[in-house]
Symmetry: C2
Subunit: 163 residues, 2 copies
């Protein structure tokens, strides 16, 4: 690509827009957690799949730890301790704390690092951007399970475009 | 941003990588369609939601038409005619045709257009990139409904990372 083209062309996706997009999704996922009745959040499932609290644990175990790993270079672990968190409110507080942490860490990822090759969680080879895309896609995917659970419970989930 | 920085910094996400990412997701969605038994593809649902064939119609109504709208500037319509397509095989053929069409149209979107403001399907305001992100996210979201349907039917869905 010539210098002239590069200077004039805005990025396909900017770093700021990507964070805003993700935080929009995190805001929607928060609404899905909040929409569950307390008991069903911990106990309801379909087809032998995990409850939405277990799914939320997975999402909490990936997002902020994954970004922290990118920033610090220290290998992240999926083994996050949720020992004392036994209410939906506890999960929502963790969710908010992690959303703030992600935004704060984001400023510490220089643009030129997004194409850098990394081994996410010590084992998944890719780039910084492909890892972040995976974390976001995985959140959308599992959150949609929550949509089906809510519908099956007769509860109207938040609109998909409600970020 | 200075010219020097812009010349040296690789993009957060390149146009080619975005297409590859989407086609990876389309390949996975194809596997989910293929995993349904013929009858359940058209008739099974949970919680009053749509069948996976109806969901597939929505996805087919958005992706290729949405990209065609971006390329041609002619307002796209969700009203795609699926009149004679009554087998899963028909849907898979349409899916493959559209995947090829998307890749072909993609070459006609210059990088500088991704930040351009558009009104997708004549009504959704955003940019080219935010519209494409929405189409992809919406596919991931609805495909996940298909995952729950398959699990509820006792069928093992393809791995999420199997693109």
């Amino acid at each position: 690509m010539s210098q002239a083209t590069n200077t004039l062309t805005p990025p396909v996706l900017s770093k700021d827009d990507l964070l805003e997009h993700w935080q929009g999704h995190r805001s929607l996922t928060r609404k899905v957690i909040a929409a569950f009745p307390e008991n069903e959040f911990f106990n309801f499932s379909i087809g032998g799949m995990r409850t939405f609290s277990e799914i939320t644990k997975e999402l909490l175990g990936i997002a902020a730890p994954g970004i922290e790993e990118i920033v610090t270079g220290k290998t992240a672990s999926f083994q996050r301790d949720f020992g004392t968190h036994t209410s939906k409110e506890d999960f929502l507080k963790l969710w908010d704390k992690d959303s703030e942490k992600i935004s704060s860490l984001w400023t510490q990822i220089p643009e030129e690092r997004f194409q850098e090759r990394i081994k996410a969680f010590g084992q998944y080879e890719g780039t910084v951007i492909s890892s972040i895309q995976y974390y976001m896609d995985n959140e959308i995917h599992h959150r949609a399970q929550g949509y089906v659970y809510l519908r099956a419970l007769g509860i109207e989930p938040p609109h998909f475009y409600d970020r």
